[in-house]
Amino acid sequence: MSLAEAHAGSGFTISKLWTEKRYRSVLFQLIALALLVALVFFIVNNTIANLQALGVSYGFGFLSQPANYDINQRLIEYDSTMTHGRAAIVGLLNTLLVAVSGIILATLLGFTFGVLRLSNNWVVSRLVYVFVEVTRNVPVLLQILLWHGTILNLPTVKNAFSFFSQTFFLSNRGLTVPGPVPEPGFQVVPIVFLAAVIGAIVFTRWAKRVQDETGRVYPVFLINIVGIIGLTVLAFLVTGKPLSWEIAEMGRFNLSGGVTLRPEFIALWLALSFYTAAFIAEVVRAGIQSVSRGQTEAAYSLGLRPGRTTRMVIIPQAMRVIVPPLTSQYLNLTKNSSLAIAIGYMDITATLGGITLNQTGQAMEAVMLLMAVYLSFSLFTSLFMNWYNHRTKLVER
């Protein structure tokens, strides 16, 4: 009889529940399960009792009741007679708007600062260092409030700063810019633009294959940029410039016309962008520094020029380090956009989790929906992350 048989053969006794590892693990998990079930039961039970005591009905019916409140910034049709559900969607779109524009600006600023931080120029790198440290170490809520306060302290509309010969106006009501007015035939332009982008992607793939097979290199980036911009401009000119700009005019009391970015949006957008940019700058710096000096030297010794070394050797390796923390910064920015509620920007937290919750008293459902929205953002982000990690995984011998 081998040792393993002797071990497995001896029958089960009660004491083995805590003296033998595999039984003990089953016992622990059963205890944990029992505790969890008891906790859930306890919470559900209490909640039902509490709701009954308060006479609050449970359900998502409130989403189809009229909202009775206004939302000052909306991307889709909305007025106060529409439903709470519609208000929540307007809020969700506002969240997405500030998140996407924040992510774009934060990325641009973050990469710029990250590269400047590594500059040989002492003044520049110190300046960026001070900026990054100050921005990272001040709570983002305070930064949002500071930007908001600054904008509200700007002159009134009557005395608004105007730029570019009275087309842009900056005042305590926000930034007013000319609004685009598409005319008949304009829909051709975006279609051409999309076609040019697709063409550029196809061309890039083709050029990469040619380079892999023959070593011939095309100036892909240049051709793509010229192609996309050139074709779009050409389509615009051929269709007879079917776009005019509505410029805001100064009336007796107010500006009329144009598109106005509200102070709440500007404050939230700038604060989130700068705050996140400071973190991205550190991520970018760490990513670039993680590529060892030998890589550059090896590329030079193979005869690659500095520009191509950066593009083909350094950046792909740095990106592998940069992208995972970068996506988590994007996620942080999206979650931080919920602080909009502090300055009255009507995002999903302020509509669904704020006014709707207070008006209907359906706290449980509202907060659950709100959490589900943010959870799905983070789920999508982690799906993307897994896909990216898989794609850029080091292929080892």
């Binding site: 209490n46 500059s119 003044v123 520049v124 709570p139 989790g353 907060v367 943010y374």
Partner: protein, 367 residues
């Protein structure tokens, strides 16, 4: 000298050209090495100059430091009179004025308790560590009352005191909780692992503000009817849970970095799971993850400002209340800058400490 002859290889070293050494060389290399570099130097120099002078003029030269209302600020710069008048509130909230010495004592006690925890070369470290272990009880009694001290409601807590209460409690409780969660996430037991992953990912996926909404509106639903417990405690629970999920991920990073051989060696010596973890794995894993842990603490500390949104009076809440006063309307910059500086000092201090630790640990690895 010039026409002296030397054998090949015997020429004494010449000093480097003066333009490559000293201040001149440094400036040439670091500031003026290329036209682009010169441009950047000039632009950023001007930027620094303008920002520095305008901050100086606004915050110091043209500022007013005392007065009873906004009308007393006539110099055109910042009106620090507001901060001056309400300074007590910014630090203590509405803690009874006669009892503020207790808060001061608690602050001093905190510094003394942190000292042996943060640094190695402290005289009588062992005794001080015992004291640090007892500090939470001491602070609890000092701040809330009991043993002959007049009792103070938590609703009176506010200002920087509230920040410290939330921050320190959150940090102290979330660390052990985070370690347990991290161990659970790496456990062999499927069910335990699933619970821990679910909890961590849920908490990390939602913004803190939604959890604070849960604290302020929902938590009382989950308890037997008629139970009431105060808002500060509910907020503390949520902040702690939030922070523990982030800490768990940091600690997990440290656990993953420990080679599996360490665990196998410990087990082959006959150590059980808890001893293996306590004696072998965790000391190494925590040491690696200290910088990440400190970073989470900084995050937690900054996040305490969010409690102002649900109506607690931390320094930001006090500031917003002051701005609602007609005497002080429109001074938002002063209030927010003051609170920002307050938070910056502590967060920056913590991040410096984390760098110091990183350096200290690096030396340990090299030797």
């Amino acid at each position: 000298m010039a026409d002296a002859t030397y054998q090949p290889g015997q020429h004494p070293d010449l000093p480097p050209p003066p333009s490559t050494t000293g201040v001149v060389g440094w400036v040439r290399n670091n500031l003026l090495s290329s036209p682009l570099n010169i441009f950047l130097t000039v632009v950023s120099g001007l930027l620094v100059y303008f920002v520095a002078t305008s901050v100086y003029e606004w915050g110091f030269a043209n500022a007013d430091f005392s007065g009873a209302s906004r009308q007393d600020c006539t110099s055109g710069g910042a009106c620090w009179a507001l901060i001056n008048v309400r300074f007590g509130q910014f630090i203590y909230g509405f803690y009874p004025e006669a009892q503020r010495w207790r808060v001061n004592l608690a602050f001093v006690g905190l510094v003394v308790a942190l000292w042996p925890l943060l640094f190695d070369n402290v005289p009588a470290r062992k005794q001080l560590l015992w004291y640090a272990g007892a500090y939470p009880i001491i602070a609890f009694v000092l701040l809330l009352g009991g043993f002959g001290l007049e009792s103070v409601e938590t609703a009176k807590f506010g200002g920087f005191l509230l920040t410290m209460v939330i921050g320190v409690t959150g940090i102290a409780v979330s660390l052990p909780l985070g370690i347990v969660l991290a161990l659970g996430r790496r456990s062999d037991m499927l069910f335990i692992r699933t619970i821990c992953i679910g909890f961590i990912e849920f908490i990390r996926g939602v913004p803190l503000i939604t959890l604070l909404f849960v604290a302020s509106t929902l938590l009382s639903f989950f308890l037997p009817p008629g139970t009431t417990f105060n808002l500060l405690l509910r907020v503390l629970i949520m902040v702690t849970l939030f922070s523990s999920a982030y800490l768990a991920e940091v600690v997990r990073g440290g656990l993953q970095a420990i080679p599996v051989g360490q665990r196998e060696a410990a087990e082959s010596l006959g150590l059980g799971y808890w001893r293996t973890m306590y004696l072998i794995i965790l000391p190494q894993a925590l040491k690696i993850s200290i910088p990440g842990i400190v970073n989470s603490f900084i995050g937690l500390f900054k996040d305490t400002t969010l409690v102002a949104i649900i109506g607690l009076l931390d320094p930001l809440g006090i500031g917003r209340a002051a701005l609602a006063d007609t005497k002080w309307q429109g001074l938002s910059s002063e209030v927010y800058v003051f609170v920002a500086v307050l938070f910056f000092i502590f967060s920056f201090g913590m991040s410096r400490y984390s760098l110091y630790l990183e350096k200290k640990l690096e030396v340990g690895h090299a030797s």
